[in-house]
Subunit: 262 residues, 2 copies
């Protein structure tokens, strides 16, 4: 466990709001540790699909990525969103390099097998190339990763950005002390969903179990937190859940919710 | 002058033809030297603009890149085209990494100043970061560069792919023996434009002057060849002009037209 590394995920709500995004990027560019940014897509892909008259396919309430939608996602996430984030970071003297999982072969996946639902061009992550990512970090580059992976067959595959962030954090934990930071629209994990001031500063498996048993942490957050604790069990040092405006305070432990094994 | 480096440019005619593109990528993936691919855009951006009902702005017969068209170019060249090339190369065990000029700050430009025509979001190259490109090549990565650069202000800018290829070749010539290879739809520079078999195998400044004086090399080719000789004068070892199907033969000198200072 040598150097410290931040793996930061920002969601679509930040991407969709230019002012919030600019504030976030400024804070991100001012961090001094090695860092990786993983971004979601936001509404731009859905809007673009609608302008191109590509219908969003739904099966049993789940969105399907057909070839036309894959092209939209590749254009919007891998091109428009990713390159604008990179150019803005470069203008703030942060040496960003925009990547999908295909670039440098950093995140490889397999097309999701068809069971009851055919999700189409969706990837389930198989391997994160931490060696290649470390080579980029050693060149003082800051990877900015779009939610697209690739398969051995040369397919591009739509992939969940939260999962890409946690898989990357777990792989990098072999060689660095990794903090995985999820930035979203709330101040952290709340003990009372109605009260934005009720941020829980620290969650361990024990306190998490207790908040679940009282119902204070409810179903929406449970899969997210289960995944976060799974990342900790696989070697990630800390998971932090915070508001996108609070990145700098959150990495120093003075904002958001920190999850640790003990 | 140490290692040998190929800077290969493919144009839109290859991008637009999936079979030709797959053949080219297979050959490119089998080269063993360090190499960089620079790609043009092809018709996809124009088609996408038309589907999005974005009008192509023309002033005095020149295409203008307004903000809507810049977004299309960023999506299509930086996303759709670039990432599909990368995924196909990865499937052929070529460790491609897709980049615009903004990524790693490799190619910076300035927004073209308005004189008689405002070209909009078009970049004139100011600096190629050969140090950063060398760092990627040292990691055994194969840069695949889309025709987009960035400015100090964080703008993305549409940029001519031929110019990006020659500027990259010139910058890399400081540290490598560079062959700059333009792949297009002809077998090479022809002494008789009506006869595809009339490829001129070798052009020096002297023979070029003589072909020009007889009119055998005519206006369409002259600016391209002038630019190629300018690259040679700035340190590039050879420029090769060949058919996209002949890449492997061309690098060994048995196809296409080779340009050298002597």
């Amino acid at each position: 466990m040598s150097e410290s590394l931040y793996v930061v995920k920002i969601g679509g709500n930040v991407i969709d709001n230019p002012e919030a995004c600019a504030r976030f990027l400024k804070d991100f560019s001012e961090l001094t540790a090695s860092r990786i940014l993983v971004h979601g897509g936001g509404k731009v892909a859905t809007q673009m699909a609608s302008r191109l008259q590509i219908e969003t396919q739904m099966v049993d309430g789940r969105r399907i990525t057909d070839k036309a939608m894959l092209d939209v996602v590749t254009m919007v996430y891998g091109g428009l969103v990713n390159k604008n984030l990179v150019a803005q970071l470069q203008a703030s003297a942060c040496n960003a390099i925009g990547l999908t999982g295909a670039d440098g072969g950093i995140i490889r996946s397999v097309k999701r097998p068809v069971k009851t639902i055919d999700y189409g061009f969706v990837g389930d992550i198989e391997a994160v190339n931490d060696f290649q990512i470390n080579a980029l970090l050693s060149s003082k580059l800051v990877p900015v990763i779009a939610p697209i992976t690739y398969s051995n067959e040369g397919l591009l595959l739509n992939t969940n950005a939260d999962t890409m962030a946690s898989a990357t954090a777990v792989a990098m934990a072999k060689s660095a002390e990794v903090k995985l930071i999820y930035c979203f629209e709330k101040k952290g994990v709340l003990s009372n969903p109605e009260d934005d001031a009720s941020v829980i500063p620290l969650l361990t498996p024990e306190t998490y179990a207790s908040y679940k048993s009282t119902g204070a942490i409810n179903k929406g957050m449970i899969p997210k937190l289960d995944n976060a604790f799974a990342a900790l069990e696989q070697g990630v040092a800390q998971v932090i859940i915070c508001h996108a405006d609070d990145l700098k305070q959150a990495v120093s432990g003075s904002a958001g919710t920190t999850l640790q094994l003990k």
